[in-house]
Symmetry: C2
Subunit: 490 residues, 2 copies
Amino acid sequence: MAGFTTENHQLLSKIAMTDQHGENSPYFDGWKAYDNDPFHPTENRNGVIQMGLAENQLCFDLIEDWIKKNPTASICTIEGVNNFKDIANFQDYHGLPEFRKAVAKFMGRVRGGRVTFDPDRIVMAGGATGANELIMFCLADPGDAFLVPSPYYPAFNRDLGWRTGVKLIPVICHSSNNFQITKEALEEAYEKAKEANIKVKGLIITNPSNPLGIVLSKETLRSVVSFINEKSIHLVCDEIYSATVFSLPNFVSTSEIIQEMECINRDLIHIIYSLSKDMGLPGFRVGIVYSYNDAVVSCGRKMSSFGLVSSQTQHLLASMLSDDEFVGRFLAESAKRLAKRHKIFTEGLEQVGITCLKSNAGLFCWMNLRQLLKEQTLEGEMELWRVIINNVKLNVSPGSSFECNEPGWFRVCFANMDDATVEVALKRIRQFVRCQRKEGEAVTGKSSWRLQKNLRLSFSSRMCDEGFMSPRMGSPHSPIPHSPLVRARN
Amino acid sequence: MAGFTTENHQLLSKIAMTDQHGENSPYFDGWKAYDNDPFHPTENRNGVIQMGLAENQLCFDLIEDWIKKNPTASICTIEGVNNFKDIANFQDYHGLPEFRKAVAKFMGRVRGGRVTFDPDRIVMAGGATGANELIMFCLADPGDAFLVPSPYYPAFNRDLGWRTGVKLIPVICHSSNNFQITKEALEEAYEKAKEANIKVKGLIITNPSNPLGIVLSKETLRSVVSFINEKSIHLVCDEIYSATVFSLPNFVSTSEIIQEMECINRDLIHIIYSLSKDMGLPGFRVGIVYSYNDAVVSCGRKMSSFGLVSSQTQHLLASMLSDDEFVGRFLAESAKRLAKRHKIFTEGLEQVGITCLKSNAGLFCWMNLRQLLKEQTLEGEMELWRVIINNVKLNVSPGSSFECNEPGWFRVCFANMDDATVEVALKRIRQFVRCQRKEGEAVTGKSSWRLQKNLRLSFSSRMCDEGFMSPRMGSPHSPIPHSPLVRARN
């Protein structure tokens, strides 16, 4: 077969032949490293631990309990099969009325009941991925741009831009003010685009932020809404992590802010939602576009034909999300468990002096490893990342893949594994940092954290430290010699 | 809210503001008529009967039985809930390996076991709608064209062209040879496009044909494959009705044909599949792209992120389609029931001299009502269609919405209802035709079928004939007077 030959180049579309799906980034490379050698607590203890995937695995027991107690909620039980025909046959792109109603109610509840959502504005799409693409198709033409505060979710390049032709322009945020979005940064990005003759059609924000794990303050949101309203450009608010807020300050949705502000053109406001993160159900592909613009609702509904939620799944979730008692318990317990996991994880890092951006939401931390960089550049970051992936065997995601322009930040997911795996991951990180420190001391004679030139060998030494052995690198019979420097200190 | 104001025009994308979603056609208008006044056997006996929707409702009992006997196949039963976490969490765009394997096997079986499909080439999409769009995004740039033999599925305009910018060019087929696709017609359409400086990237065929309900012969398929191979353009074979073939000749897939032909560039061949028609599961949104082109498989898989099949649904179907005994029984019984329904329906039409194109597949007939047209034009067709929708209260779809260039053809679906509803529909059609004949005789004094000028009034007369009463038109106390001409004859 021809594969990617010149001939195929002519045969296929430009979209097919570009790299704009964005999958040639370290973010996805890390996944591949995990796929090739996945950690398993008994069968592959030295495999790669997946910390690059923002999954929420902490509350499945609650959902499973609910399922056991609610057999009529499914069309595939003796108790529920009478609904099979009607549900399996249902393909109306408006979605099951009970599903839209339940999702709208759930969205309101997650936002503290301070705002209500109209089921008739709930537009379905195939996960947040599909929802984000759908809203771009509605709002922007190829070549138009959306501003995105950086650091931002790496797959936005694919989701928002690959097939739509929409360009993403980073709004540069800085660690000096905890990566907050400022009006100045927005104006700067907007003006720069204007100078380059690029039409800016809108701004997309994630709140709670992915990858920062922080909620946007009311002040920031007001400033953002004012900005887009003045410019008459769209605001897309990706709020798919809204129920992952586990401590104060509370989550505030843009929906709330526009209730409080006057003279805002609501036709510019659109919310993206999903159940992949908040409920931990990414396989179910529930993506929602909630727009305050009638024309967008109407157009989006037609587009949702390309990525409807399976009616089997709609039916189940309609029941589950309508159960007020369950929803209340789930949200409370989920926040509690996330808070606990976050505490264990960040405190585990602090034992070796590693800090994360202070956060209260999300399924990840924004970890600061600047002190471990050989050089304070993006190349230095990539070098460190390769060591972490290949030697420490943790798939974490480097800041550069989030378009962060300060080197040394990494997103580390902590909710997609069990307690024991978190401990293994923490142990590895601590070993690694301690080794680096020791080696730094040995090499320079002072207490600085520096990597040696031969990073791989350098790190292989850590295995002597706490007895960790990888079958692939540095077993007692490994042909790769341990670092004599560190060996001498053990 | 602004709605479709000029301001909104500037705010939204060109895609959002065009009519190219194709929903302003009689095909969809008919659905709206049904939605506004749906027939119900007890609660709304005079409502509109939906004959515009190609659903397969004849075999749900078999599926329901299987579900009752296989509780472990679902993640929402006591027996299957242990798999809930792993499945709900599964979002790999390759799809569950067991799902791809089961679908590939099922596809082979539907094609008589004469061809096998490689699970690694199974790419998921959101229904056939999503699959058809996905393949266009892979193969063609905005402004490029695909040839489509007419009559063709009305929603192709939306599915293939709306967001991709791909143009559809009809290949005109004629009733004189039963709408077969000829090499001459293909060449003519191709040359015409070339003259207009339009780049033709491929040809899409539906086999079995929607709306014709016929299978393409080996000769036609060979000729089609030769044509695209000579031109070095793609062939997209939409085979979503492959298991609806209910009598001879058997279905032959393009996959089979390319096994037999030499020197065919397989990089040009792509199959679209779905379980919406063959299994009657449109709500489950299972769309499949099966490409023989490695680059398309690779690119398509990345695109499938926008419309993955719910993992809950993948898991269930993996089990169901792996059950050889069930699949065999289902396919045999489904064909038997479709054959019976088709026979009842076509024979019911023949009682009043209405014929359909001879067919052996699909969930519809291609009904010839030329004799009822007031004038042999597309306007005449629309006039008749409006009477059928509004007065006979059957949602059938006019040929013009399928780009058929001969007036008087209508697609009528027969498998989306129960036996009793078919009888009501047939009764209405027969009454209508008899009324027309009587009125024609009364008006002209000879036995011709002609509609009177005041169609609505004219048809309201039919209600006297067999005692049928609509609460909305022509009850005994209706303000609309019955036609005195027909009354005189009752």
